[in-house]
C-alpha cells in the first residue's frame, strides 16, 4: 500500500494505478506505468514499470508525476496485464481425449496451483484449476483429466476438516468410475494429508496420487510439469495406494512414488524433498510412462471395488517434542484444554526425561491412568522406538503405560491417533489399534537399504 501522502498526490492529479504516467526528476523524463505497491518496501516510493520493462522505485518527494492519458506501448500493456493477474490467452489449450482413462485432478492449493501475485509479492492461487495444465499438453496423451477444486489453501493452513473434505471428494470421484485421482497440494504439510487419506479411504483399490511442486509453475524450471506427468502415469497404474509422486532426484529424470504414511518432507527447498522413511519407495516413474516397481508391498487395482469412507477424527490430539530442558507441564496445559491424546516425539529410541521435576515419565503415568493415551515416536526420524533397552525407559512403557509408535513417523502417528480416537476412547482399544497396521504405516521389519534414500 502507498502512504497517505502518495495517495493524496495521486488523487489530486487524478492518477490511478495502472495509468501511463510521466515522471520528472532533475529535469529528466521517465515514462512508464504506475504499479500498485506490494506490502513491502517504502510506502512513499512510487513503483513504476518503465517503458523498457524494468520496475523501479521513485520517491514521491523527488519527482513530479503527470498522467500521460495515452495508451501504453503494446509490450508494456501486456506486461502490466500479466502482472495484474490477467493471463494472456496465448497459453496452450489442452484438449483431453475421451478415449483415455478418466482421472480426476483435485486441486487444493499450494505452489503447484498458484502463480506470482504482483501486489503482495507472494504467490496466489490460480483462478481456474485448468491453468495448471497450460504448459503440459502431453498430459492429454496419458489421461482424460477432470478438474475440480473443493477449496484453495496453502499447505500451512490445512486443517483436519480439510482432510475430510478431500477424502469425500476423492471417494465420490473414485466411486463414480474414475481410474484414479491426482491431488495437487502444498508441500509443507503434504505428508500429513497423505497419511490422513491413507487412513480415511478404506478398501481403496485405485491409485490416489498426491503431487506438489517446489518451484512455482510461472518459471521455466518448475518441477510441476514433470511431477504431474509422472503422477498421471501412476494414476492409471496398478498400484492402488495413497502416495506422493514428486522428483526423485535434483535432475528432471524420474519421480518416486512414496507411500502416503511413510513419506516426509526432508528439505525446505529442493525438488526431491520428499523421501521415504524406513521403507523403500513403491515405484520410480519416468515421463515416458515407464514405471519401475521398487517395493512389492502394495495393493493392486480392482476397479470393481468401492472405496469406503471412514473419516471419524478426534481433533484434540497434540504432537509434542521433548528436548533437554523441556517442561512436562505443557501436558497439563493441553489437558486443561481437554486434549484427548498425545504423540510424544522422544529422543533416540523413544526416550523422555526421567529425572525429578522435569520427569515426563511421572506425568505420562498420571494421565495414562486417567485414560489419556500417549504414543511415543522418535525424533531421529529414521528407525524404530525400542522401549526395553534402558531401565528408565522400561518404566515409561511398562509402568507408565505409554504406547510404542514402532517405526511410524511422528506426523503419521499424530494423524493415526486422531483417527483412532475418532473411533474409540477406550485406552486398551486405542493401544491395540495404534499397534495395528492399517495403511502400511508400520513395517514389521526394516530393510537395510532404507536409510537416507
Amino acid at each position: 500500500m502507498y502512504s497517505r501522502a502518495v495517495e493524496r498526490v495521486l488523487k489530486a492529479k487524478k492518477i490511478k494505478i495502472g495509468d501511463h504516467v510521466i515522471l520528472l526528476k532533475n529535469g529528466k523524463k521517465y515514462k512508464g506505468v504506475l504499479l500498485p505497491k506490494p506490502d513491502f518496501g517504502d510506502p512513499d516510493t512510487l513503483l513504476i514499470k518503465l517503458d523498457n520493462g524494468y520496475n523501479t522505485g521513485f520517491r514521491i518527494k523527488n519527482i513530479e508525476i503527470k498522467n500521460l492519458r495515452t495508451k501504453e506501448p503494446e509490450n508494456v500493456e501486456k506486461e502490466v496485464e500479466y502482472e495484474f493477474g490477467k493471463i494472456g490467452k496465448r497459453f496452450l489449450n489442452v484438449k483431453f481425449n475421451p478415449k483415455k482413462p478418466k482421472v480426476s485432478l483435485i486441486s487444493t492449493g499450494g505452489t503447484i496451483s498458484s502463480r506470482i501475485d504482483y501486489r503482495t509479492g507472494g504467490v496466489y492461487a490460480l483462478e481456474k484449476p485448468e491453468e495448471i495444465l497450460h504448459n503440459i499438453p502431453e498430459l492429454a496423451d496419458i489421461v482424460n483429466l477432470h478438474m475440480m477444486s473443493p477449496f484453495n489453501k496453502m499447505s500451512e493452513d490445512m486443517q483436519p476438516e480439510d482432510w475430510i473434505e478431500i477424502a469425500k471428494t476423492i471417494a465420490k470421484e473414485l466411486n463414480s468410475g474414475k481410474k484414479g485421482v491426482i491431488l495437487t497440494h502444498g508441500t509443507d504439510t503434504l505428508h500429513y494429508t497423505s497419511a490422513a487419506l491413507s487412513f480415511f479411504l478404506r478398501n481403496l483399490r485405485k491409485p490416489v496420487v498426491f503431487v506438489g511442486s517446489q518451484r512455482s509453475s510461472d518459471r521455466g524450471s518448475s518441477d510441476a510439469a514433470m511431477n504431474l506427468v509422472c503422477a498421471s502415469h501412476i494414476a492409471v497404474s496398478n498400484i492402488a495406494e495413497v502416495g506422493i509422486c514428486m522428483h526423485g532426484a535434483t535432475d528432471d529424470k524420474y519421480c518416486l512414488f512414496i507411500r502416503g504414511t511413510k513419506a516426509r518432507k526432508m528439505h525446505s527447498t529442493r525438488r526431491d524433498a520428499f523421501r521415504p522413511i524406513n521403507e523403500k519407495p513403491l515405484a520410480k516413474a519416468w515421463q515416458d510412462g515407464t514405471i519401475e516397481i521398487l517395493n512389492n508391498n502394495f495393493k493392486t487395482r480392482n476397479d470393481n471395488e468401492k472405496v469406503k469412507l471412514d473419516t471419524r477424527f478426534e481433533k484434540k490430539v497434540a504432537l509434542l517434542k521433548v528436548y533437554p530442558g523441556s517442561d512436562p507441564d505443557v501436558i497439563d496445559f493441553y489437558i486443561g484444554k481437554k486434549y484427548r491424546g498425545f504423540v510424544v516425539e522422544g529422543t533416540g529410541m523413544g526416550h523422555v526425561p526421567t529425572f525429578a521435576k522435569k520427569s515426563w515419565v511421572e506425568k505420562i503415568k498420571k494421565h495414562t491412568k486417567d485414560g489419556i493415551p500417549f504414543v511415543i515416536t522418535t525424533q531421529t526420524i529414521y528407525g524404530r522406538v525400542n522401549p526395553y533397552v534402558y531401565t528408565n525407559l522400561r518404566k515409561l512403557f511398562l509402568d507408565a503405560g505409554a504406547i510404542s509408535g514402532e517405526d511410524m513417523l511422528s506426523e503419521t502417528a499424530y494423524v493415526k491417533l486422531g483417527w483412532v480416537l475418532g473411533h474409540t476412547k477406550d485406552i486398551k482399544k486405542v493401544k491395540e489399534l495404534i499397534l495395528t497396521n492399517f495403511a502400511g504405516e508400520i513395517t514389521s521389519r526394516t530393510e537395510t537399504e532404507t536409510f537416507l534414500i
Binding site: N26, Y30, N52, G57, K78, R90, N135, D218, R219, G220
Partner: protein, 633 residues
C-alpha cells in the same frame, strides 16, 4: 568499395557492454565468484518449459516441441556453486559489495539512481540460467559519457547475474558449467548517439576504461560488447560477441555497408518488378544422385527456381561476403544443412556444371532465372527451401531486424531473429533495496579516479623517477602493475629488470607457457629478485623460477631453486667445472682475452647456480695454478 559518407547514410550505433565485477562472493549466494579450476564433481540434468506469455512471434506449440527435446546438463563445482545455482534454493540477499560497485559505475556515468532498486526476472529459456530467467535490476538511468565528439547518452546501468558458461553442445543437449552462473555483472547500454565506426571504438574504449577503474574482473571473457547498428531506411541489427576492441570499427563499417547494399538490392528488385517467391521446390535427385560430385551422390536433392534473379546471389554485401554467403548462413543457423549450391557460383568447383545444365532444361529455366539446390534429408531440405524463400522475399523489405554474430574478419553472420522486448516480471524472492542518501553520499565521496586519468598520472610518475622506455612504462601502467613496480623498486631492485619481469615475462609465461600467473604473489617476486641480487640466480633464470613458484605457491625460494636445478653449486664442484673448462681450452690460457672467454664458458655451465664474483675468483685462481704447473714442464 568506396568509403562511405556515414552522415549521408544516417549511421546510428549504440553499444552495450557486459562487465563482470570482481567480488569475492556471487550476487545471490556465498559461493566463490570465479571460474572453477578443478573438474566438476557432479552433473545435473534438467529441462525447461516455455511459460505463459513467453513467446513473441514464435508459436507456443512449436516452441514447446523444441523445448521438449532439449536437455540441459549442468556441471557442479563444489566451491563455485551451491543449491542457489542449481535452482534448488531461493536467492540470498544481493551482495552489498556488488551493489556498491554497480552504484559507483552508475555515478561515474552521471546516472540518475532510482530511490528503490527492484530486481526483475528476465525470461531466458536457452538453459543458460537454471531458473529459466536472469535476475536483473536497474541501478542507473539517463547518464552520459564524455567523448571527443560530444556526450554519448547512457540509457541504463543494470546489475545482473552472469549466465552459465557453455561447455559443449550436440543436437539435443547443451552442457553448461554452473561456476559462472551468478557472478555479478554490470550491463551498460548507450543511446544510439554514435555515428561513425571510429566513434564506436572510442566509446567502447572509454566505457572499458571507466569500468576498469572500479573493482572488475580482468582477462578473457570478463567483458563482452554488443553493438547495435542501423542506417536510414535500414533496420536495427544487434552484433553479438565482439571480443576485440580493434575489431569494432570494422564490424560497424561492414554492417553499414551490408545495409546499404541490401537497400540497393531492394530498390533494384522493386524496379524490376520482382515478385515474392513461393518455396515451391522440385525433387531432382535423379539428376544429381549419379553425379561424380561427392556432395550430391546418392543423396536427396531438391531444387528451387527463382525467376529473374540471376546474378544477385553473387552480389557483394561486404568485400568478402556475397548475398549467396548470406543466405547460406541463414540455412546454417536454422536447419541442419551446412549450406546451399546455386547457379550464380562457380559450379565446376563442385563438379556439378553438367548437372545444372540438365536441371536448367528440366525446369525450363530461362537465362535470367536463378537455380538453388539443397542436399540432405528430405525434411531438412524442405525446411531449407522455406528458409531460402523467406530470406529472398525479405530482400523486398530491405534489411531485416536480427541478431548477428561477429566473425574474426570484421564480418558478421546471421545468428537469430532479434528478440522481442524481453519478458520481465518481478523477482519476488528478493526484497527491494532502498537507496539511502547516506549510501549515495558515501559512494560519491569515494569515487575512484577514472582509469584514463589515473593512467596518465602513473605514466608521468614513472617517467619522473626512472629511465624506462615509453613502451615498458605504458605496459606497466596498462596492466595495472604500477603499485607493485613501485614497491619492488623501493626495495632496491633494478627498475629495468622489475618492469620487464612484470610485463614481458609474466605475459610470456601466461600466453606461451600457459602458467597460471594469478598464483604468483608479491613474496614470490621479492624472493626471486633477492636471489638475483645476491647472485644465486641469473636474470635468465627468472621465468623458470616464477613458473615453478606458480606451480608451488607455498614453497620457499630454496626448494624452488632445488626443483628447477638452479640450486647454487658448492665451491668444490665449481672448482671441478672450472678445471675441466681450462683443460679443454688450454690454448686460451695465454690469450690476452682468454680469461674473459673462459669466464663465459664457465658461466654457460653454471648460470643461475653460482655467483659471478665467486666464479671470477675461482677462475683466476685456477688459471694461475694451471700456468704454474704447465710453464715449468
Amino acid at each position: 568499395m568506396e568509403s562511405m559518407d556515414y552522415k549521408k547514410i544516417g549511421l546510428k550505433c549504440g553499444i552495450e557492454i557486459h562487465q563482470q565485477l570482481d567480488t569475492k562472493q556471487k550476487l545471490f549466494c556465498k559461493c566463490k565468484s570465479r571460474l572453477a579450476e578443478h573438474n566438476p564433481v557432479m552433473e545435473v540434468i534438467r529441462k525447461l518449459r516455455p511459460v505463459v506469455g513467453e513467446t513473441g512471434e514464435i508459436d507456443t506449440a512449436v516452441l514447446y516441441e523444441t523445448m521438449r527435446n532439449k536437455e540441459f546438463h549442468y556441471f557442479v563445482y563444489p566451491e563455485e556453486s551451491c543449491l542457489v545455482e542449481l535452482d534448488e534454493e531461493p536467492p540470498h540477499e544481493p551482495n552489498p559489495q556488488a551493489l556498491r560497485i554497480a552504484l559507483t559505475i552508475a555515478e561515474l556515468l552521471k546516472c540518475d539512481i532510482p530511490d528503490e532498486i527492484h530486481f526483475m526476472r528476465k525470461i531466458v529459456i536457452d538453459g543458460s540460467n537454471t531458473s529459466g530467467f536472469q535476475r536483473t535490476a536497474i541501478i542507473g538511468l539517463n547518464g552520459k559519457i564524455k567523448t571527443s565528439f560530444g556526450d554519448v547518452g547512457i540509457t541504463n546501468v543494470c546489475l545482473e547475474e552472469e549466465s552459465c558458461k557453455i561447455i559443449k553442445r550436440d543436437e539435443n543437449r547443451v552442457f553448461y558449467g554452473l561456476d559462472r552462473l551468478g557472478i555479478p555483472l554490470v550491463e551498460i547500454g548507450t543511446s544510439p548517439d554514435i555515428h561513425t565506426p571510429g566513434q564506436a571504438k572510442e566509446v567502447a574504449q572509454k566505457l572499458g576504461m571507466l569500468v576498469r577503474s572500479t573493482i572488475v574482473k580482468r582477462g578473457l571473457g570478463t567483458i563482452r560488447q554488443d553493438i547495435n547498428v542501423s542506417i536510414k531506411d535500414g533496420a536495427r541489427v544487434e552484433i553479438k560477441g565482439a571480443q576485440d576492441l580493434k575489431l569494432i570499427p570494422k564490424l560497424v563499417e561492414h554492417e553499414a555497408m551490408r545495409q546499404v547494399n541490401l537497400i540497393k538490392i531492394r530498390d533494384e528488385l522493386k524496379k524490376s518488378g520482382f515478385r515474392p517467391v513461393k518455396p515451391k521446390h522440385v525433387h531432382v535427385s535423379h539428376i544429381f544422385s549419379d553425379s561424380e560430385s561427392r556432395i550430391t551422390k546418392g543423396k536427396t536433392t531438391h531444387a528451387l527456381l527463382i525467376p529473374n534473379f540471376a546474378g544477385f546471389l553473387k552480389r557483394r554485401l561486404t568485400p568478402t561476403r556475397t548475398l549467396g554467403n548470406e543466405i547460406a548462413s541463414y540455412v546454417k543457423a536454422e536447419t541442419k544443412l551446412k549450406g546451399i549450391i546455386h547457379s550464380d557460383e562457380d559450379l565446376s568447383r563442385y563438379r556439378l556444371s553438367g548437372e545444372f545444365e540438365i536441371l536448367r532444361k528440366h525446369l525450363k529455366a530461362r537465362k535470367n532465372d536463378t537455380l538453388i539446390i539443397a542436399v540432405g534429408e528430405e525434411d531438412e531440405v524442405k525446411k531449407t527451401m522455406e528458409v531460402i524463400a523467406k530470406r529472398i522475399n525479405q530482400l523486398l523489405i530491405g534489411v531485416p531486424e536480427e541478431t548477428r554474430k561477429a566473425l574474426d574478419n570484421g564480418d558478421t553472420e546471421y545468428l537469430r531473429p532479434l528478440p522481442g522486448s524481453e519478458r520481465m516480471y518481478p523477482e519476488t524472492d528478493v526484497m527491494p533495496i532502498k537507496i539511502t542518501k547516506n549510501l549515495l553520499n558515501e559512494i560519491k565521496e569515494n569515487l575512484p579516479e577514472v582509469l584514463e586519468v589515473r593512467e596518465k598520472r602513473e605514466i608521468e610518475e614513472i617517467r619522473k623517477k626512472t629511465k624506462l622506455s615509453d613502451e615498458l612504462t605504458v605496459q606497466l601502467v596498462r596492466m595495472g602493475r604500477k603499485r607493485l613496480f613501485d614497491r619492488l623498486v623501493g626495495l632496491g631492485y633494478d627498475p629495468k629488470i622489475v618492469s620487464t619481469t612484470l610485463t614481458v615475462t609474466l605475459r610470456y609465461l601466461e600466453r606461451k607457457e600457459k602458467v597460471n600467473i594469478s598464483k604468483i604473489d608479491d613474496r614470490h617476486l621479492i624472493e626471486t629478485f633477492e636471489a638475483l641480487r645476491s647472485g644465486r640466480i641469473s636474470k635468465e633464470a627468472i621465468p623458470e623460477v616464477l613458473k615453478c613458484f606458480a606451480d608451488n605457491p607455498n614453497e620457499t625460494i630454496e626448494l624452488i631453486l632445488e626443483k628447477t636445478g638452479l640450486k647454487p653449486i658448492g665451491r668444490d664442484k665449481l672448482k671441478e667445472i672450472v678445471k675441466k673448462v681450462i683443460e679443454e681450452n688450454k690454448n686460451l690460457v695465454n690469450d690476452p682475452r682468454g680469461e674473459d672467454i673462459l669466464f663465459g664458458l664457465v658461466m654457460r655451465k653454471v648460470r643461475g647456480r653460482a655467483r659471478t664474483d665467486i666464479v671470477k675468483a675461482v677462475l683466476k685462481k685456477e688459471i694461475k695454478k694451471f700456468t704454474n704447473t704447465h710453464t715449468f714442464q
